[in-house]
Symmetry: none
Subunit: 218 residues, 4 copies
């Protein structure tokens, strides 16, 4: 920690930088050309390095993809975490979450595309496990959230697991919806989010006076 030698840190730095560079190149190739084109040769060409360097830093293609995946999911989780101030209602909370997701899709579109590519095509057991575990976790959180909202009468009485599945699928495909301008993108985001918020929100006399009390504890 206090040792003068920067060798360790330096080495670590180089390795981390290389790994980050390779992961970035992999994401770009995945997003632009698809999983089928994401060979070591193409990724390496994209990063202006030798294909063997990828093996050197990641061992196998499987490890590379897992590294890519971990990076992407970490950033996505961060982006989805949201701010500290709690929204007033469950629908608002859902809306906020969806909008944060949309925001991240646009600011880090390549990552989401790449993640989708890996999910769709990866046949290795370890990758499938990685996906199914993160998918299950995401589904579980979403289901719990929906059930809470239903308990408060703010969400329609529909099957939470089904809605969660549909929503997650829609999120997985959202990056395809792209407008022609930033403004249009913004409008699309808002409408897209409200589409699902509407679909799940309780309908009859929603949010009208007299039922405000059920929003207090959220």
């Amino acid at each position: 920690m206090s040792s003068a030698g920067s060798t360790d840190a330096q080495r670590s730095f180089i390795e981390q930088a290389r790994q980050a560079q390779i992961i970035r190149a992999t994401i770009e190739v995945l997003a632009e050309q698809g999983y089928g084109a994401a060979s070591f040769a193409r990724i390496a060409r994209h990063a202006s390095i030798s294909p063997a360097l990828i093996t050197y830093h990641f061992g196998t293609k499987d490890f590379l993809m897992r590294g890519v995946l971990a990076t992407i999911e970490e950033r996505l989780d961060d982006a989805m975490a949201g701010t500290d101030d709690e929204p007033d209602s469950y629908p608002d909370a859902l809306k906020g979450m969806l909008e944060r997701f949309v925001e991240h899709c646009w600011s880090h579109g390549e990552e989401v595309s790449a993640m989708t590519e890996i999910r769709r095509q990866a046949r290795s057991e370890s990758l499938r496990q990685a996906f199914s575990s993160s998918h299950d976790r995401g589904t579980a959180e979403l289901v719990a959230f929906i059930e809470e909202g239903q308990a408060h009468g703010q969400f329609r009485d529909t099957d939470p697991a089904l809605f969660a599945s549909v929503l997650l699928v829609a999120m997985g495909e959202f990056s395809r919806l792209r407008g022609r301008s930033a403004d249009e993108n913004r409008r699309i985001a808002v409408e897209w989010a409200s589409l699902f918020v509407n679909a799940i929100s309780a309908t009859t006399a929603p949010r009208d006076p007299g039922s405000e009390n059920d929003e207090q504890d959220q």
Copy 2:
């Protein structure tokens, strides 16, 4: 050999039969093992023919996939066409359409899975065009239908193109939602369809004067 007149027809018949056989085998391999495994060798083994025969009948892999696609889409279109008796309302019409779609997904699951596989993985320009053109056509029809429903006050006033896109994406991914029993599948189908019908249907007294205030807090 026997009758000169039947040569042409015979050839044509044999050719069609072969192409159909190959397409069937391709669909099965795509659905069961994924695009990455759908090599000529595997398809040919599945059909008990020689790999060269696929090239002979389709020229390139791209043409094969386009042929597969055309076949699948044609059957899907037929299935979606519906009966002649018009439903009473636009929401009912939408619901009927979605249910026909779901029905087709289950009765021809392999085809829909295969179509999804091709859409996801195919990177050739011609296939992308094929997809985007059929997507555009589908979107256009759906948009027209939604606009009609909106004009009749039966559909909520949302962006028709966006809703169409979301719905088409959801349909493309629907085959993933699969329950554990036939009964559960039926329930899922009904809920899934009504989810989107609800999302687009005009709510009772939607947005009429007196409830405008519910948009204020977002």
Copy 3:
């Protein structure tokens, strides 16, 4: 059998010819350059074909090596089989066997060298099995033969299994012993064979009158 079409036979002929050619090339590379150099690329270059053609005909390197092995062992077994006229005594029978072996080593030296290379280096389970089964069979035959000779008092009372092992090892390495001329080779062969015949033959007054009767049933 009587069908006019020669297609089947022809196809089979081409395939057999190619396989034989590849096996021959493999044997040559193995004998001249060793197992480590016996890559598909080098074998193919040696046979003036494409490396992929080896995979086409043999599937995997393991299958190729097993094919090579089967060919070599078949020819060796044929050569060792000997003639129909039985020798007079066990030592003579042993001597005849060893001389036939030596003869084959020189007329098919490359094959024996190649077999040795494969045996030494092959790490695949299937190849090891192939070798150990053929080795066990050879050992068993030899042991039985020695025990018979011992029972007739013509072989020295030594451990048959040990002698068999030593002899098999010596045979495996025999191809290294090579003189400078055909005559010298012939002399070496005779001396080499008699070395082991002497080592195992019963010493005290062998084959002198009075013990002739024990040679009758061999």
Copy 4:
């Protein structure tokens, strides 16, 4: 760094220690996993060092193997040297030599295995030379010894060079003969040695006084 005078010696010491360590690790990998697995990476992992360090100390793989070989042969030569007290007869001397060899094979089995691995697989010119020169030297010594024994009438009148070759080959392969227990090993060793002693010794009533005329009938 501390004392200028010890730099040279220190370097030399460290260098020797490193080289010895690497050679040891190489021998172990060769004996346990075979030549094909003896890559720099594996050797280095076995020695808990970096692969580059091997190149640093030995330059090329060829030099490394030559170093390994020299070490092994030196130890083997030491072991074979025997004690100062001369045995009574040439057969006894041969027997003693073979038993010393066997002893070394068991106490330094890994080295002998490693040597065998290198001999079998190494194809570089320099290594072949190293082997053939040591082989020639061994043969020459053995031939001289046999000729001496023959001159004293204690060894059978057979080709000394051929016997030497056969014996050296048998020694090279001896490490394969391994029993299931220490006792069995001891028995095997004795029988193995006496097999060759018998094969070369003058036959009837050998070595006892008054039977020197027994060389007539062979």
